[in-house]
């Protein structure tokens, strides 16, 4: 019987880059899943949770549990939001007699997209083509809360024409940090500036187009914004777009030239 997956789109993908959600759905469907994206979903609650507004975070967590507990699995194209569901919901709702066990159950079946494809569905390759040199940034929550490291590399290896060059600072924070980048913009700027320099160094010398990939839109918006401000001609995309073969449109922060 086919696996029913609830796609947790994430608020940033919903607003900024819906193509990532469509790419995630395509990858899941190609792997034989039935994908649903409940339209009543909003956010995982991290803005409240990480600002110390525990009550609001709990209210939103309960919403997510209500909406997604019926699926076989819940998948998010984000290590950060995936980590929120998987690593933080149980603690957040631990004292709520109606929700504690349900939050645990939801956590156990919640996954970051690429880790789900590889670790749960056993995918070893994708049918996609993306010629050019790319580098990959490991977003912190995915890396340290969920152990997402080898999975995207394994699938990227199967992409036709793609050459991956490792980023020396791949495991160092890009300085986004959710509200951190607004609270401490100067420190955040220094971190993302060094990240941008490392990306530029890593991809320099290539004659063709070069691309930065990662699995979290927050970090991607941050790095794309910095690369754009510095005038660096590196394209920035969510890894799902490349794996799904849906990387034709403008990259993140790139103009359509229309409208």
């Amino acid at each position: 019987m086919a696996i029913r997956v609830g796609l947790f789109v994430t608020c940033l993908v919903d607003l900024f880059r819906p193509s990532v959600g469509l790419a995630a759905a395509k990858l899941l469907e190609e792997a034989g899943c039935i994908v649903e994206a409940p339209s009543a979903q909003t956010c995982c609650g991290q803005p409240a949770y990480n600002s110390g507004d525990r009550k609001t975070a709990q209210a939103i967590a309960r919403q997510v549990v209500d909406l997604f507990e019926g699926f076989d699995h819940v998948v998010a194209p984000s290590g950060s939001c995936g980590g929120m569901l998987r690593a933080h919901f149980p603690e957040l709702l631990a004292d709520d007699p109606r929700y504690a066990a349900r939050a645990q159950a939801l956590a156990a079946k919640s996954h970051e997209l690429v880790a789900f494809l590889v670790d749960v569905l056993g995918r070893e390759r994708v049918a996609a083509r993306f010629p050019g040199l790319v580098t990959y940034h490991d977003s912190c929550s995915g890396l340290r809360e969920l152990g997402v490291k080898a999975q995207p590399r394994r699938l990227l290896k199967s992409v036709e024409g793609l050459e991956l060059k490792e980023l020396p600072s791949a495991e160092i924070c890009c300085g986004f940090g959710g509200t951190f980048c607004i609270k401490y913009p100067e420190i955040s700027d220094r971190l993302v500036s060094e990240k941008a320099e490392d990306i530029e160094r890593t991809l320099s010398g290539s004659k063709g187009a070069t691309t930065l990939l990662a699995g979290d839109l927050g970090c991607l918006l941050n790095m794309a914004g910095k690369l754009g401000r510095r005038g660096v001609k590196v394209r920035v995309r969510h890894v799902a777009e490349v794996l799904a073969g849906m990387a034709e449109g403008p990259a993140i922060g790139e103009g359509s030239g229309e409208g």
Binding site: F16, P18, S51, I60, Y184, G257
Partner: protein, 479 residues
């Protein structure tokens, strides 16, 4: 009124944000901090790689401290009894004032004029140097890093590398200014030269000192021993040469047995400097006994609480497992950029951002819990598995409850949560925002400035949305 932080300890954690800006603009500081990933971080990684049981040792070390904290009163009493039985003295001090008074009284009783000091963060916490100086007693720091910053009238900027904020050139200048009687042509280029230079000065001070003060990495209940780890041997000279040895230590340094200390030692130096062991690990058990070749005539242990027992039983209790290795500072992207002084008090980096509000009160340290991207690198390397990001979040919760969170963040969160809890409105709003921002920014692909997002667009572009929300596209796809 008790004083956890004496006035003289340069208390300005509230100015973290301004401190950080100054730090980012300080070329010397940036140069001094630049190599941390290539040194501390790389050294630790290598040491851990060479020890297959390292992760199991972390679990064992954590379990030892959890057990000691759960039975803190028992083990502290046992330790004190053992010290007294061996002829030493224990001074129980509730706060910094009490500890300062205890140390001063001991020094005065023997008419001390100079005191040599090994490295001690508790000494910084109670600002003992200022107190001794104010009372006519000269403290002499003997750890190289501490010696350098004492010459410069600065405070340590890292719990194990106190002068890490300085470049080699700055240290050379400091020495030439302070050591004008030494050969002006001597080379002062590498750390070895510096150490020789400092040693030439310190020999006489060691011999002349009336009292030696050290900290402690461990207090061992089983034997009444205190333990220090050092790399220069200065700690041994500090505690063996003078007539009197005073150990100042906070209560959570307690471990039940010698074997427990040995277990934690295996993770301490590896996490701190990447060494398997520090060069010197020194156990002190009471004063000199008849027949001993050396050792102090008197042995005092000043035990400091200073707000720690108040953390027991709270969500911050596991912070008391901390063994002060400094790994969380070394691995923190924020610390690496702003250094330790920006945090405004004795402790810095992730452990400082948790401990400072714990000891001083959150209202005196409001900027610190937010000074983290929650990247989790600190927790991933903490030898005692302290959940530092979670505890920073708990401080943010306390701030939110007590309305210490700045009003504009509170209203931002309130506005956002109003929509996040009303899916239909949210859907409508997201669709409209995507369309509006997409239409405004779509051609160029990014905004160079945006109202209400100045903190972002001052430094980077804001990529524009694609123009439709996911749920709009998803609904269209299904049709």
């Amino acid at each position: 009124m008790s004083t956890i932080a004496p006035e003289s300890s340069h208390l300005d954690s509230l100015h973290f944000k301004d401190n950080a800006k100054l730090a980012l603009a300080d070329a010397n500081l940036q140069k001094a901090l630049a190599g941390m990933d290539d040194t501390f971080v790389a050294y630790r990684a290598r040491a851990v790689e060479r020890l297959p049981e390292f992760e199991a040792l972390r679990d064992a070390a954590k379990a030892i401290k959890d057990h000691a904290l759960a039975n803190l009163d028992f083990y502290l009493q046992r330790f004190a009894d053992k010290v007294e039985a061996g002829g030493g003295h224990v001074h129980w001090c509730v706060d910094a004032d009490a500890a300062r008074a205890a140390v001063l009284a001991i020094c005065r009783r023997v008419g001390a004029r100079t005191v040599t000091k090994g490295k001690t963060m508790i000494g910084e916490e109670i600002a003992i140097n200022d107190h001794l100086q104010a009372n006519g007693i000269e403290p002499v720091e003997t750890d190289l890093g501490e010696y350098i910053i004492q010459l410069r009238h600065e405070t340590p900027s890292h719990i194990i590398a106190p002068a890490i904020h300085l470049t080699v050139e700055q240290v050379g200048e400091t020495f030439r200014e302070a050591h004008q009687d030494l050969d002006p042509k001597r080379p002062l280029v590498d750390p070895g030269d510096m150490l020789t230079e400092a040693r030439a000065k310190l020999r006489k001070r060691f011999l002349a000192a009336d009292v030696g003060i050290t900290g402690a990495n461990f207090l061992i209940a089983e034997t009444g021993s205190t333990v220090i780890v050092t790399n220069e041997g200065n700690g041994d000279l500090t505690q063996i040469l003078p007539k009197m040895h005073i150990v100042i230590a906070s209560i959570e340094k307690i471990v039940p047995t010698l074997a427990d200390a040995a277990t934690i030692l295996r993770v301490l130096a590896r996490s701190a400097t990447g060494q398997e062991m520090s060069v010197y690990t020194t156990f002190s058990t009471g004063p000199r006994r008849p027949g001993d070749l050396d050792g102090p005539e008197e042995f005092h242990v000043v035990l400091l609480d200073n707000g720690r027992t108040a953390l027991l039983g709270t969500e911050f209790e596991s912070m008391l497992r901390c063994i002060r290795c400094g790994a969380c500072l070394d691995h923190c992207p924020v610390y690496q950029k702003v250094g330790g002084h920006a945090y405004g008090w004795v402790y810095s980096g992730p452990m400082g951002a948790v401990l400072t509000p714990g000891l001083l009160g959150i209202e005196k340290a409001t900027p610190l819990p937010g000074a983290s991207t929650f990247c989790g690198r600190c927790e991933s390397v903490c030898p005692m598995r302290i959940p530092l990001p979670n505890m920073l979040r708990h401080w943010r919760e306390r701030e939110f409850e007590r309305h210490l969170t700045p009003a504009r963040y509170r209203s931002g969160i309130a506005l956002w949560s109003f929509f996040a809890r009303r899916p239909r409105l949210y859907r409508l709003g997201a669709g409209l925002a995507a369309r509006l921002l997409g239409a405004l920014g779509g051609r160029r692909g990014a905004f160079r400035s945006l109202p209400l997002a100045g903190g972002w667009t001052a430094y980077r572009d804001m990529p524009a949305p694609q123009g439709r929300s996911f749920h709009q596209l998803w609904a269209a796809r299904k049709r």
